[in-house]
Symmetry: none
Subunit: 459 residues, 2 copies
């Protein structure tokens, strides 16, 4: 049996074992945004170390940052000429609230309808384990065709605030020929997908403060400008009637879509009703003049991710709240500068906020959008790998999501990432009842094995 076939055989043989490792990984509630889970973050990084060790990789380092640690590991091929692949992943997960909407404990993985349900199953503990599985299946043949480097961070879900300094500091260590980032997904179980574009992200918290304490709405109502209404006015003004964002200069740096790009979008077999079904939204609505896939993949957005003011319990409490807060997240497209957007938002607020309140704007970590060329050798290697497992050519897709790390790595390591992953649109990542489609995930392990051999030039 040729080495490649042997590795594929190993991969298939060990499916259950890999799934068990994944389940163990999911049990660790490594929620990066919540300080109460700091210990779990540590546990998750140690767990990764133990799996890497188990797979015969001895050089594993848990490296401190200002925030959560980075797990770095490497294994060199005996072939001195071997190319180097750097595999990126994040071992942190999103929060789980609202907990009451979960049908099972988010940290007690359960299999239901061919899916593994649990927080992080798809985003992206499943993808990390798929890469490690592909590595192990190859290493069991006795030889590896590439030098493997792994970098797993614990802060992706909070915007990777400490990854940039880490990359800067460890530039040499991270030298490689290709970066594999499996944090993207597929369009459907039958449609292997390569993501060649990502949107960027900028994220803000806007606080509006009125009276210095909650007021009795009878004693003062009528003479006091309600901070929740001021916030609603500001939010409402952020889009015009064509659903375009109104921040001054917001579209100035946006590159218009070419005819060719618009044609790529037309090939993607996702219909409006697919999106309606996946989201459960009664109807779609987006920027005028663009299809939903274009709106998601290639146009910038402004969304409210959270809003809080006053009394939110059962029943009624008759107050004018002292303050109102909104979380504002913007998805940006290539060439939009997060820092400029901060100033655009600030200018918008300054121009529209009344004198009856004070306000504060906090910016969270964000990142630039990215786009890559589909004729690059690593993209071709991945394309062929996916084709050999699925029996058809993959589609190229510009994703709506943001992987700031892709932009950071491009900037600091001067390397494009090749983006794939075996999550599906209905995996409910970031939502209750996140799950991973196991059949697709298993195919993914095989595709990764094929990719590594393809990229190494091993027939």
């Amino acid at each position: 049996m040729a080495t490649r076939e042997e590795a594929l055989f190993n991969g298939k043989q060990n499916y259950n074992y890999y799934q068990e490792l994944l389940q163990e990984f999911i049990r660790i509630p490594s929620i990066s945004t919540d300080p109460n889970h700091k210990e779990d973050i540590k546990l998750a990084s140690n767990y990764l170390k133990s799996v890497l060790n188990k797979f015969g990789i001895t050089d594993v380092r848990i490296m401190d940052t200002e925030g959560h640690p980075v797990v770095y590991a490497e294994k060199r091929s005996t072939n001195q000429q071997a190319l180097t692949v750097l595999i990126y992943g994040h071992y942190d997960v999103q929060p789980v609230d609202p907990l009451e909407l979960w049908e099972s404990n988010p940290f007690e993985p359960t299999v239901k309808d061919g899916r593994l349900v649990g927080r992080g199953a798809s985003d992206m503990k499943g993808q990390i384990i798929a890469c490690l599985a592909a590595y192990q299946a190859i290493s069991l043949t006795g030889t590896i065709p590439l030098n493997f480097k792994f970098i797993f961070e614990g802060e992706e879900e909070i915007g990777s605030p400490n990854l940039t300094p880490f990359l800067e500091k460890n530039k040499e260590l991270l030298q490689c020929d290709v970066i594999l980032n499996p944090d993207a997904g597929m369009i459907s179980p039958d449609t292997p997908t390569i993501v060649n574009g990502l949107r960027g992200l900028t994220y803000f918290e806007l606080m509006i403060k009125g009276p210095d304490h909650d007021l009795h709405s009878g004693t003062f109502g009528g003479a006091i400008h309600n901070p929740a209404i001021v916030l609603a006015d500001l939010i409402s003004g952020m889009h015009d009637s064509d659903n375009r964002v109104t921040l001054p200069g917001f579209y100035d740096d946006v590159i218009p879509l070419t005819e060719r790009e618009r044609n790529e979008f037309l090939k993607i077999p996702v219909t409006d009703s697919d999106i309606k079904r996946q989201t459960g939204a009664p109807a779609l609505l987006g920027e005028k003049g663009y299809s939903p896939l274009e709106q998601i993949g290639a146009r910038p957005t402004l969304d409210i991710s959270g809003m809080l003011s006053g009394f939110i319990g059962e029943g009624s409490k008759t107050i004018i709240p002292s303050w109102a807060m909104a979380k504002i997240g913007m998805r940006t497209v290539p060439n939009q500068d997060p820092n400029k957007i901060y100033h655009q938002l600030k200018q918008y607020i300054e121009e529209n906020v009344p004198k009856t309140v004070t306000w504060e704007l906090k910016q969270f970590a964000g990142g630039w959008a990215s786009i890559s060329d589909t004729t690059n050798p690593e993209v071709v290697a991945l394309s062929n790998a996916l084709e050999s497992v699925w029996g058809k050519k993959p589609l190229y897709k510009r994703e709506g999501g943001s992987i700031p790390v892709v932009a950071f790595m491009q900037k600091i390591l001067n390397k494009d990432s090749v983006l794939t992953g075996f999550g599906l649109p209905d995996d409910k990542i970031h939502s209750p009842n996140e799950s991973l489609h196991l059949e697709t995930w298993k195919k993914g392990i095989l595709a990764l094995i094929e990719f590594f051999y393809n990229f190494a030039g091993v027939k």
Copy 2:
């Protein structure tokens, strides 16, 4: 000496005795919200019974409710034609925390600078004792000109949850010609005050539902209408640029202020900077064309008391929330029908909500506004009583708040309440170091004596 003079003489003679009774009453820590004080609530109701008995009223009933008991008492006049006054009060008090801010034990009344300091001194044990004192001073003359009924509840400070069923059940028992509610206050020691208007309240919860789960704002952002933005649009549209409420027909039933009413408002010695100081708001803003006191006292409002959507924790979570909710409270003015307002709000939403979401509107219990004609015999009786004690005509004040019990009684007993009381703005009710201005309180006893005779038509 005429009967009235004799009663006034008795009142003055017994000031110290009444004050001792009040001090004894304050010593009982009847905090209704705290289960640890359940026994004290019982003690307070028994204490009231003992005072009523001491004053020669034998028909005193401690009547159970689902919560704390109601003390009911009555004494009929020997005059078969006598009118009946129903005197309302509450014998429960607010909690005392933060205890460390009290300069003396809240339940060990002490006199300081002409004030009796202690929890409940002003709100409203002092007002109850003033009514009982006035009754006794009259009864000592050997004859009472009215039938007296007393209803003292023990749950006002927790929103009178069991008063409505009690009133329903005891409608017959509570029949009367006038209700006296001494739970309002005076503007200053030199300004006798009659509250002749209260705003009503209608309260709603509006729920906007978009996607059936929280969505990843990258994966779907751009093509999905964000429910938090839909809610903000709806809220923002509820006021126009003059800060008038835009619900269709909202002002149709509002009775314009008369020149005389506007002049009454001008007499009230409360400035814009007083309101700014009391609220801590950076600036005032209300309906165009009205002064802040008019906006609060005589104009209807729409306020957002609470708002919730999506992620509200620390940091960032990049979602399109599945839903957004607002608590909407409206203070209404006389002649506005809470039920019509429900339909106006519903119509507004129907006309403005997009097809991208579904919505639900829940209405909570509310009540009509009340205003009493200052020419009503009971108001004239009170006005003359205050004038004869203070030597000047009282001010009429329309309050912005709603006293639920006034609305309940109006609805169930079909009687307006006449609102007065001898508390002052600096009595610190609900706060540490609550106190009662004794000189004003003593004048109050005399004014109540005058009121009872005036209302009975006794010269």
